[in-house]
């Protein structure tokens, strides 16, 4: 038996003994998702136990170094971990912007002290993070952001407003882009970390077309941020921000796995059948794109792990993955008929189909619009003139 086969057997045995049956059922609602953090209420004992067992082994962040709370797995081993989770339909133990976005940026730009402290907290699910990027006047043109941090010697005093801050009302800390030099557009932004309970931070949920409020407005009124809470160099936060955006786009693209890579024809067929040849054809063509995109996600991750992926490839992935996900939900609505229109019935678990469908419309806007993604691909990958 090769080392990898032995590793697979070990993971299988461990999952068999440690993954509770309840955690092997598909996520139905947002509150099935374990986000961790100071104020998180576990939905069940199984959810809590599953997180604790994974934390003890470093499996919440399997490919991070052990010193920072990971399991220190190689690329091939981490792939096996994902495959074995998928094989038994196990939920990921911890969903976290800390894992998907801030973590990779800290691994690259953080000091050793920051890595040990913050990465460890993230790996253990102790701190829930939110992202302070967009502002009311700075969407696609993010670099025009105005939130300002005034230098007060050993700290900054931050004033301004962020918008579309996902789960800001539930987050413990924020990673935030703050202008620290008004004279310099790109090299005048710093990447700061601070506690959401710091005096002067307030949040206000934004009601969306889905009726839900996953995004917030976040206000900063004379918020004091100590100087050691900067990641990377002063005024070079844009480098950190861009690097992190690559990971955010990868996350939103769904390349890492989960429902966004799945075919849907068989699922629709199980729930009431497909009695229309045109719908069947649309589902089949969708399934082809979904399964092909799933292979793309796998290929991208494999190549990224060994440095073979084009650094701008997450932009293509984000574009393709989010447009696919919007199409998925259009089809699910069409297949669901009038039942899928129900807004708050018990049968639809509170309008999950229609609210989920509306939520996906943000996919091709958040983290960089599809149009911006295409601009980046044209410029950085295709090297088209003037792009």
């Amino acid at each position: 038996m090769s080392d990898l086969e032995a590793f697979r057997a070990e993971i299988r045995a461990w999952l068999d003994a440690n993954c509770p049956a309840e955690m092997r059922k598909a996520v139905q609602d947002e509150d099935d998702v374990c986000w961790g953090g100071r104020n998180f209420t576990f939905k069940s004992e199984a959810q809590k136990v599953w997180l604790e067992r994974c934390v003890a082994k470093g499996y919440t962040v399997p490919d991070w170094p052990k010193a920072y709370g990971g399991a220190g797995l190689s690329a091939a081993e981490a792939k096996i971990w994902r495959e074995e989770l998928a094989r038994i339909g196990a939920r990921i133990p911890l969903s976290s912007f800390g894992i998907w976005m801030l973590g990779p940026a800290l691994l690259k730009f953080g000091t050793e002290e920051q890595k040990v402290h913050f990465l460890g907290q993230i790996a253990r699910g102790e701190i829930r993070w939110c992202q302070g990027y967009s502002e009311p006047g700075s969407g696609s043109d993010l670099v025009s952001l105005q939130t300002y941090g005034e230098d007060k010697g050993d700290h900054w005093v931050v004033n301004g407003q962020k918008i579309w801050t996902s789960y800001a009302d539930k987050a413990d800390w924020i990673f935030c882009l703050v202008r620290t030099d008004k004279a310099n557009k790109y090299q005048g932004i710093s990447f700061l970390l601070f506690d959401m309970t710091t005096p002067g931070v307030t949040t206000r949920p934004i009601k969306l077309i889905s009726g839900n409020s996953p995004f917030c407005e976040t206000f900063f009124d004379n918020v004091v941020v100590p100087k050691h809470q900067i990641v990377g160099q002063l005024n070079r936060g844009w480098d950190v921000a861009k690097y992190l955006l690559g990971h955010e786009r990868e996350m939103i693209s769904g390349a890492g796995g989960g429902e966004r890579l799945n075919a849907i024809g068989a699922v629709v067929n199980r729930h009431g059948g497909i009695d229309n040849p045109v719908l069947r054809a649309e589902l089949a063509l969708f399934d082809i794109d979904a399964l092909a995109y799933g292979a793309m996600g796998e290929k991208f991750l494999d190549e990224a792990k060994v440095g073979r992926a084009h650094p701008a490839q997450p932009n293509m992935m984000k574009y393709a993955g989010t447009e696919l996900n919007k199409r998925r939900h259009e089809l699910l609505m069409a297949a669901g008929g009038s039942t899928a229109l129900e807004w708050d019935s018990e049968e639809t678990r509170g309008g999950a189909p229609s609210r989920g469908w509306l939520r996906t419309k943000a996919n091709s806007i958040e983290g960089g619009t599809s149009e911006v993604m295409l601009n980046v691909v044209a410029k950085r990958i295709l090297d088209l003139p003037g792009a």
């Binding site: 054809a281 082809i288 092909a292 601009n375």
Partner: protein, 379 residues
């Protein structure tokens, strides 16, 4: 297994890329043969060169004198064949023919494999009956006659049929046209008495035949595998051919895309390079993504097939359909973005459009494979 080439595969790709770019170029192969009114459909000297490099035996087992490699490796060759639009019997012979022969008797192998390995012989698959690929329906009759069989019926879209040493014929030995069982594969010599070839030139300048079988008598030794039990082998042959065609399609798509983006960077209108216009940039970027995704589907299916995975079947259809759709977009956008010159015979982009159309049809178009994906998925 990671979804990229191993070191050995990357080395093969490097060798093959250089070889086919040099020897199989559009100008010296496709255009030269076409303009000379060639009726063979390929250049015999180039086929010999393929053999010298071992490529004709890429899927033939080492025990049988081949390289004993897999679909990833065959796909490496086909991608370059596609990128250069090289007329080649590689897909019909080294993929379809060799896969069929892998299940043949030593006697049959001895009859055809040495010629294939030497680059002298060519094989063709005679499967379709009618203008569309419908392998579920096989009507060509093979009745028992003495020690052998008597074949009656017709086959269409037999690519390379007119020049093949033998046709791999899917025939009905029992049951009704649509029965799963009762299918038998035969290796029928091209010039067997009673065979009629009507070779026609296709839109992409390749040559395919309508073949009629008028009580063609063959001996029992021409049967490949089991009598009445040929369906499983046929499915294996089809999987190999479909993923091969998909790989060739991705080559066609990448070739079309390369000349199109190059054109966007040189053609000027309104005093600007047309590649500066966002309307074209976004379409090119979208197309890039589609081609990348098709590539991923193809290598995934190749690896699953090589590993003997039960998921290979559906992924092969996904790959064939996706490669067809993405490459079709590449050639349509390619001609449009070339503007008027895209309509001229002088520019190569139109040749890519023609090849895409023929390859997309071969062994099932996107709608055939979409239907198959749905059926295999249980709906």
């Amino acid at each position: 297994m990671p979804l990229y080439h191993t070191e050995d595969q990357a080395m093969l790709a490097e060798t093959v890329t250089g070889f086919i770019a040099d020897e199989g170029a559009i100008k010296t192969q496709l255009r030269r043969l076409r303009d000379a009114g060639d009726s063979a459909g390929y250049d015999a000297g180039l086929w010999k060169q393929f053999a010298t490099m071992g490529l004709t035996g890429i899927l033939v087992s080492e025990a049988d004198g081949g390289l004993g490699l897999g679909h990833v490796e065959a796909g490496i060759v086909l991608r370059e064949v596609g990128r250069n639009l090289t007329p080649s019997p590689f897909l019909s012979t080294a993929v379809l023919g060799a896969t069929a022969l892998s299940a043949a008797s030593d006697d049959l192998k001895g009859r055809y494999l040495p010629g294939i390995l030497a680059g002298d012989a060519v094989l063709a698959l005679a499967l379709d009956e009618g203008a569309k690929h419908r392998p579920e329906r096989i009507a060509l009759q093979a009745e028992r006659a003495g020690n052998g069989f008597r074949l009656t019926g017709r086959k269409d879209f037999v690519v390379q049929g007119a020049t093949a040493d033998a046709l791999i014929v899917a025939a009905r030995t029992s049951g009704g046209d649509r029965d799963e069982d009762g299918v038998t594969l035969f290796a029928v010599p091209r010039d067997a008495a009673g065979i009629g070839h009507n070779a026609v030139r296709l839109v992409d300048s390749s040559i395919a035949s309508h073949v009629t079988f008028d009580a063609v008598e063959v001996d029992g030794g021409t049967v490949i595998g089991d009598v009445d039990g040929g369906r499983a082998l046929l499915n294996t042959v089809l999987a190999a051919g479909r993923i091969g065609a998909a790989a060739e399609l991705t080559g066609v798509g990448s070739g079309a895309f390369a000349i199109t983006t190059a054109y966007l960077k040189t053609r000027k209108q309104f005093g600007r390079l047309i590649g500066e216009f966002q309307a074209l940039q976004h379409r090119a970027a979208h197309l890039y993504g589609e081609l990348e995704i098709a590539d991923a589907a193809v290598i995934k299916a190749q690896q699953l097939l090589d590993a003997g995975s039960s998921q290979a079947d559906v992924m092969v259809s996904v790959a064939k359909a996706k490669a067809s759709l993405a490459t079709n977009l590449a050639v349509r956008e390619g001609v449009q973005m070339h503007g008027g010159v895209g309509m001229t015979d002088e520019y190569d982009i139109g040749l890519y459009m023609k090849r895409d159309r023929a390859l997309a049809e071969f062994l099932g178009d996107a709608s055939y494979h979409a239907d198959r994906v749905a059926t295999l998925s249980g709906y």
